[in-house]
């Protein structure tokens, strides 16, 4: 692999300062996307800034109505955390299906959300649960966060510190995984907040989004069969060797139907 400088700051201020003083800096979280990317030569930053040592990015707290998770929390921790499993099982379920076991032992929530891979799982939860993203200097509504393919509302050098997830009355996540990579070809999270339905979709478009058409139908009638009549346009959806845009649009409906079925069985 090419040569780079490696830094391990112990505060957000120090990390941002390192980033700002570098011609080409990149933050390293769990590394499960970044390190393969470096090895393949798809990115070659001069300065790698490892965020693992920053206390402010760690920790999980569960309060009434809200689960707050530090950005450096690894997927396996969310999958196994007893309190999250109790109050927000949909998030543990989602985290426990990211990639594979070894990847979940290293990959972090903040890294996934900052990277905003179109096929990542966490973005469906950020959107579907209406999460709030905290950075070192401001808060960003989940609805305003995802902008385009690998593009987010984060400014250069801005670091996600934690993400707050409101706790719905009930919720379910269904994904159609790519059988080789386990990335979501399509993933849909449906959440019921006292009768108000939110639907977060990942995998289908350039970035995660709210399926407002599906929400409108489910707000009238929370029934999987109600979705059969929904006409979901595939304009702008991803089309690649894994699935056509048309097939992805079909999968959004099928995954939403299954998630609603799961919710009704809770």
């Amino acid at each position: 692999m090419y040569r780079f400088n490696y830094h391990k700051p112990s505060s957000i201020e120090e990390a941002v300062s390192l980033f700002n003083s570098s011609d080409d800096g990149f933050y390293l979280s769990g590394g499960q996307t970044l390190i393969p990317t470096l090895k393949l030569g798809l990115a070659s930053p001069v300065d790698i800034i490892d965020l693992s040592n920053i206390e402010a990015l760690h920790g999980i707290s569960v309060d009434s109505g809200l689960v707050s998770i530090g950005a450096f929390t690894r997927h396996a921790e969310v999958a196994e955390h007893p309190e999250i499993r109790r109050v927000l099982p949909v998030l543990s379920h989602l985290a426990g299906r990211i990639g594979d076991g070894q990847v979940r032992n290293l990959g972090t929530m903040g890294g996934s959300v900052a990277n905003s891979d179109p096929a990542a799982d966490y973005p469906a939860a950020v959107i579907g649960l209406g999460a709030t993203i905290h950075t070192g200097k401001r808060t960003i509504s989940g609805d305003d966060y995802f902008k385009d393919l690998f593009e987010t509302a984060l400014e250069p050098g801005e670091i996600i510190t934690r993400i707050d997830y409101p706790i719905p009355d009930r919720a379910a996540y269904r994904k159609f995984p790519n059988p080789a990579s386990r990335y979501a070809v399509v993933g849909v999270l449906v959440a019921d907040f006292a009768g108000a339905i939110r639907v977060g979709v990942t995998g289908a478009g350039p970035c995660a989004f709210r399926a407002t058409g599906i929400e409108a139908v489910l707000n009238q009638n929370l029934d999987p069969d109600a979705l059969k009549v929904v006409d979901l346009p595939d304009a702008g959806f991803n089309s690649d060797l894994h699935a056509s845009a048309e097939y992805r649009a079909h999968l959004v409906k099928v995954m939403a139907e299954r998630a609603v079925t799961d919710i009704l069985a809770l």
């Binding site: 692999m1 090419y2 040569r3 780079f4 400088n5 490696y6 391990k8 390293l28 590394g31 499960q32 390190i35 393969p36 090895k39 393949l40 790698i48 490892d50 693992s52 396996a76 990639g99 594979d100 076991g101 070894q102 990847v103 032992n105 290293l106 080789a180 990579s181 386990r182």
Partner: protein, 158 residues
């Protein structure tokens, strides 16, 4: 850069380039070649080792990330005279053909048995998603993991 780590109980202080991967430290600096490099793109799991008790793909960790860590490789779990129960189960069930994926499979399977109280065929297959066998001998691998899961931990003399 200087890193210190413990591998199979032995402490090492090393000076390595920043771009060194954990698997390179294990194989090239410490000579522990039981950990294999298969795909080198974090898909195949042949390089799986334990870091602080959890499985990781050692081809996807930089030297700086493992500073202070405790690493266990396939060489650290048993000896030819005293196999780890998972190694014994792989032998018993003929769970290897070419053997290339086996060290990674065994390291992952040990974690799986430790972490999952009720293992069944489906849970083993899901748990081994990050480990690829290109002999496609999965049937006997699953059998071996289930076999080892039934052996009480106390069966192995320490």
């Amino acid at each position: 850069m200087k890193v210190s780590l413990t591998v199979n109980g032995d402490r090492h202080e090393l000076d390595v380039p920043e771009n060194t991967l954990l698997v390179e430290i294990i194989r090239e600096r410490l000579g522990l070649t039981g950990t294999h490099i298969g795909c080198d793109t974090s898909q195949c799991g042949a390089c799986t080792v334990h870091m602080n008790g959890r499985t990781v793909k050692s081809c996807s960790l930089l030297a700086g990330q493992i500073d202070g860590a405790e690493i266990t490789t396939i060489e650290g779990i048993g000896t030819p005279e005293d196999l780890h129960p998972m190694q014994a189960a792989f032998r018993e069930c003929h769970a290897l053909q070419c053997g290339f994926c086996t060290p990674g499979m065994i390291m992952r399977a040990i974690e799986l048995v430790e972490q999952t109280p009720e293992l069944d065929n489906k849970a083993v297959r899901e748990g081994l998603e990050g480990n690829i066998c290109r002999c496609t001998g999965y049937h006997n691998i699953v059998e071996a993991v289930l076999h080892a899961a039934r052996v009480p931990q106390s069966a192995r003399a320490e």
